[in-house]
């Protein structure tokens, strides 16, 4: 009796213990069982030759895999093409797709627990899901796109539905949850998430209003100018605007009198790091060796494993596109077809504005607008939390948009509603669908006209010899500086009052220079009649790229590849001599002198071995903090400081500026010279503190700058790489700096009978950390090499790099 009870109790206890997650570790029983656990994830690594029966296939679909496991899909119609894309993408990237969507929808807490709650709340209050719902409603009016998004979704679900638990990607087993069915709305949500990343609601309106309150409009105009002097804009200076501009709304006279009342964007709102963006360019036939244009693109995004991109070739009787896709969305996003090539970089247009809302009372049921009380609507957001009761957040919606920062009367701060381009219904997949099929410049422009957000510089080249770039997206028709500060939500003249007509978006076709380019810098010079934003990425990458392109002759794909990997620091060239000549040599310690010598010998290259690069980067990081010591609120919080370029201009032109004077030294008036000296010493101290005594080894740029490409769940350290030593900086064309960098490098040389294309991204096609194809392209990327891309003209074309074939048919 006792024995029976005891042994049953021990067995029960064991089963219970092994079924319970222990802290961050998964429940061990299921995780370690070779039948259900991670061991079985090693099984699906390579399935090369298969016959697969899927209910959704209308005709026979062929998928051929090349030696990097890129799928080349051949289908008889659009439905099968995107059905297969969904299926094969899910096969390789299911967990990534799910995580991205859960993050976008504010549903992370459900799988990782309470720590994700601030991020989830942010996504709910900025109305991501509502934006996706409306985009899907809007897209369904387009019968063709509806069909494609549904086919893609069906393909993903066909894959999910045949999975046994043992087949779930290992991350599901680690976190202990199950794949959820896909839907077209989720593809739309992915697009909203891209807008979050590239045109985020945190554009500093509230912080800059605090600056305005403290210093006044005069100072703001001076320190936060709408144009940077050194700029080399996307649309070359002097390009004529061949259109009649529409009437621009007039700015309210008192727009600078708004008070922030201490409001600032919450710290839980993710901030986009300055200077992180992308490059793209195209050279015309007259600059190339073949006489046909060559196009290059490298979008800079967060570098993760698995990578944000997934290579694919999509071929049907009427189209044959190839390039990089986003797991979760149909079509090729950056790529080429037989006749044309295209790539995108981000446009930093101001498409997210915060409106101060006056609610009638605590209930938030009515707000004041245009001299009357207007009703709000409410959306109830239930946030499920792993291991905790759910949280309900009620988000009020005004006609501006969701009240993203709710305040209550007792706070004496305004509630802030968000007017954001992501809420403007769009049909983004239509643009990419048409680009995948474009044959010439006119097709490209027609494709772009459907695009809403996030606004992108679309560079283009065709085998008819055209090159072009469009600053493209739906841009609100703003009065000058509208949305630079908080906007008064009670008055209609503060609303967005229309749109810049698409054909008047800044663009240039076949400029005399023989090249077009962009690197997130200002879209235009001062002559463009409309206001897009006051702040863009610093001009350094653009200056370097344009200097190189201007000098380029007889270009080959390799010339463009070299420019993608260029680490020449123009800011160093333009600024460092002016800094060094201000240093007082007699006041330097031995270490400081060594640092000085290293800088003097620096060739302005941000290579991994360079010590000069390390010191220059640290120095120019710290210097602005010394200049903007005045930029704090009364309670000591930092105010949004001016852009770094303003500091360099003061050093070049106005060394006696009052901003160099330090507040804390009341008996002394500092000038640029003092600040340069102080910040230099601080930089050397800081490097010593973090990297030890000065030595060419420990202070080498490659050691200091960060070399990690982490898994999507960074605590899973061994799923990432921390040994990716490569040169770069946010201010050189090869913008690799720690977690951010060139996420897909592509070079396409167009030709009469089709292109020759090259590409690489720092990752691998498989999302399975047990696969050799999980990170096999990282080293190629790190070394600055590109893979020649396999581009098949037909499903039967022999190619030595094809290693396997799937046949998909109806059961």
């Amino acid at each position: 009796m006792v024995k029976a009870v005891l042994s049953v109790a021990v067995t029960g206890g064991l089963l219970w213990l092994l079924s319970t997650p222990l802290g961050p570790a998964p429940a061990l029983g299921s995780f370690l069982s070779p039948f259900t656990g991670f061991w079985s994830n090693e099984r699906r690594v390579d399935m090369l030759n298969e016959e697969i029966h899927l209910p959704g296939a209308q005709e026979e679909i062929t998928i051929r895999f090349d030696d990097n496991r890129v799928p080349h899909i051949f289908a008889a119609n659009d439905h099968d093409l995107y059905y297969a894309q969904g299926y094969v993408t899910a096969r390789d990237r299911l967990f990534q797709m799910e995580l991205t969507i859960r993050s976008a929808a504010g549903r992370l807490s459900e799988i990782v627990g309470e720590k994700a709650l601030p991020l989830d709340l942010y996504k709910r209050r900025t109305g991501s899901v509502k934006a996706a719902e409306e985009a899907w409603k809007f897209t369904q009016q387009d019968e063709k796109m509806r069909g494609i998004l549904e086919a893609y979704s069906d393909g993903v679900n066909a894959y999910i539905s045949q999975l046994r638990k043992a087949d779930y990607p290992v991350e599901y087993k680690l976190l202990g949850f199950q794949p959820e069915a896909w839907s077209p709305e989720k593809s739309m949500l992915l697009m909203v998430e891209m807008t979050h990343t590239l045109a985020s609601p945190r554009s500093g309106d509230a912080s800059l209003t605090s600056v305005l309150e403290k210093f006044g409009l005069e100072v703001v105009r001076d320190l936060y100018p709408d144009f940077v002097e050194r700029e080399s804009p996307v649309i070359p200076k002097g390009t004529a605007w061949d259109f009649r501009r529409v009437a621009i709304p007039r700015a309210p006279r008192d727009y600078d009198e708004i008070k922030a009342g201490g409001a600032s964007e919450p710290d839980s709102w993710p901030l986009r790091p300055e200077g992180i963006g992308s490059n793209n360019w195209a050279v015309s036939g007259k600059k190339s060796a073949t006489g046909f244009p060559i196009l290059a693109g490298d979008p800079h995004l967060g570098l993760t494993l698995p990578s944000i991109w997934y290579q694919v070739q999509l071929s049907s009787p009427e189209s044959n596109a190839c390039g990089a896709s986003l797991p979760g969305a149909p079509c090729v996003i950056i790529g080429f077809n037989r006749d044309v090539a295209w790539s995108e970089t981000n446009v930093a247009s101001d498409v997210a504005d915060l409106y101060a809302i006056r609610f009638r009372d605590k209930s938030r049921k009515e707000y004041f607008f245009d001299k009357q009380w207007v009703k709000t609507t409410f959306r109830y957001e239930e946030i499920k939390i792993k291991g905790k009761p759910a949280v309900i957040d009620t988000v009020a919606y005004t006609h501006h948009g969701p009240v993203a920062m709710p305040r209550f009367p007792e706070d004496k701060q305004p509630s802030l509603a968000l007017r954001w381009i992501a809420h403007e219904p769009g049909n983004p997949i239509r643009t990419f669908y048409m680009l995948n099929r474009a044959k010439n410049y006119d097709d490209y422009v027609r494709a772009l006209s459907h695009y809403v957000s996030p606004a992108q510089n679309f560079v283009f080249a065709s085998n008819e010899g055209d090159i072009a770039i469009w600053v493209n997206g739906k841009f609100p028709l703003k009065w000058k500086e509208q949305g630079k500060f908080l906007l008064d939500g009670t008055r209609p003249e503060y609303d967005w009052q229309g749109w810049i007509p698409h054909e008047q978006n800044p663009h240039v076709k076949n400029p005399a220079s023989g090249y077009v380019s962009s690197a997130n810098q200002s879209s235009t010079d001062k002559t463009y009649p409309y206001y897009l934003n006051w702040r863009f990425a610093p001009p350094n990458r653009a200056i370097r790229i344009n200097e190189r392109l201007a000098a380029m002759e007889q270009a080959t794909p390799d010339s463009l590849r070299l420019l993608q990997n260029d680490v020449y620091n123009v800011l160093g060239r333009d600024l460092l001599p002016d800094l060094l000549k201000e240093l007082d040599m007699s006041a330097l310690s031995a270490t400081q002198y060594s640092a000085y010598s290293a800088l003097q010998q620096w060739n302005y290259q941000n290579t991994i071995g360079s010590v000069g690069a390390t010191i220059f980067e640290e120095w120019t990081d710290l210097l602005p903090y010394f200049v903007w010591d005045e930029f704090r609120t009364t309670d000591g919080k930092p105010l949004q400081a001016p852009q770094d370029d303003r500091v360099w201009e003061l050093i070049w032109k106005k060394k006696e500026s009052k901003w160099f004077d330090l507040e804390k030294t009341t008996d002394k008036t500092e000038t640029a010279r003092d600040i340069i000296q102080l910040s230099f010493k601080a930089a050397v101290d800081s490097l010593q503190k973090h990297h030890g005594a000065f030595s060419p080894k420990t202070w080498a740029w490659g050691e200091v700058k960060g070399s990690t490409i982490a898994h999507l769940l960074p605590p899973l350290k061994s799923f990432g790489r921390d040994d990716v030593r490569a040169g770069g900086s946010s201010e050189v064309p090869n913008a690799f700096r720690g977690k951010w960098g060139p996420s897909w490098r592509m070079v396409v040389a167009l030709g009469k009978d089709g292109p020759t294309a090259y590409g690489v991204y720092p990752g691998g096609q498989s999302g399975n950390p047990g696969s050799p194809f999980y990170d096999n392209m990282v080293n190629t990327w790190r070394d600055g090499r590109l893979n020649e891309l396999v581009y098949l003209k037909s499903g039967a074309e022999p190619n030595p790099r094809i290693v396997g074939t799937w046949k998909i048919t109806k059961p």
Binding site: V10, L32, S33, T36, E42, K165, P769, G770
Partner: protein, 124 residues
């Protein structure tokens, strides 16, 4: 005999059912044919342990062990042998105790006494 049966049946059951099904077959077979508490325990312990060890080892070999390496690093850098041992031990413990429970419960409900000769036969 019951040992081999345990391995074969258990493999089939675990292919279709969740991980805790590792307890089912040892429990059932020992309830049916178990001859002693100790014997039942060891039958369950070694059948489940060997099965888990064998299959884990097979998957590890077949794939080149990339994932084993990553997972063992996640578990405080335990190393592949330790991960295999932990897997085998967990399977073995659950199998062993489940098997013993089967035998003792059976004894509780309908006790069976065997002659020495029958015991010897069952053993072989």
């Amino acid at each position: 005999m019951s040992f081999l049966l345990m391995i074969l049946l258990s493999a089939m059951v675990q292919y279709f059912l969740p991980w805790w099904s590792v307890a089912l077959v040892p429990f059932g077979i020992s309830a049916w044919k178990g001859t002693s508490g100790k014997g039942a325990f060891f039958n369950g312990f070694f059948s489940a342990g060997l099965l888990w060890l064998g299959l884990a080892w097979y998957e590890h070999q077949r794939s080149g062990g990339i994932l084993t390496e990553r997972i063992s690093t996640l578990f405080q850098g335990a190393g592949t042998p330790a991960l295999l041992a932990a897997t085998a031990l967990i399977g073995a413990l659950v199998g062993g105790f489940a098997s013993m429970s089967g035998y003792f419960l059976r004894q509780l409900i309908s006790p069976q006494t065997l002659s020495e000769a029958e015991k010897a036969k069952a053993y072989w």
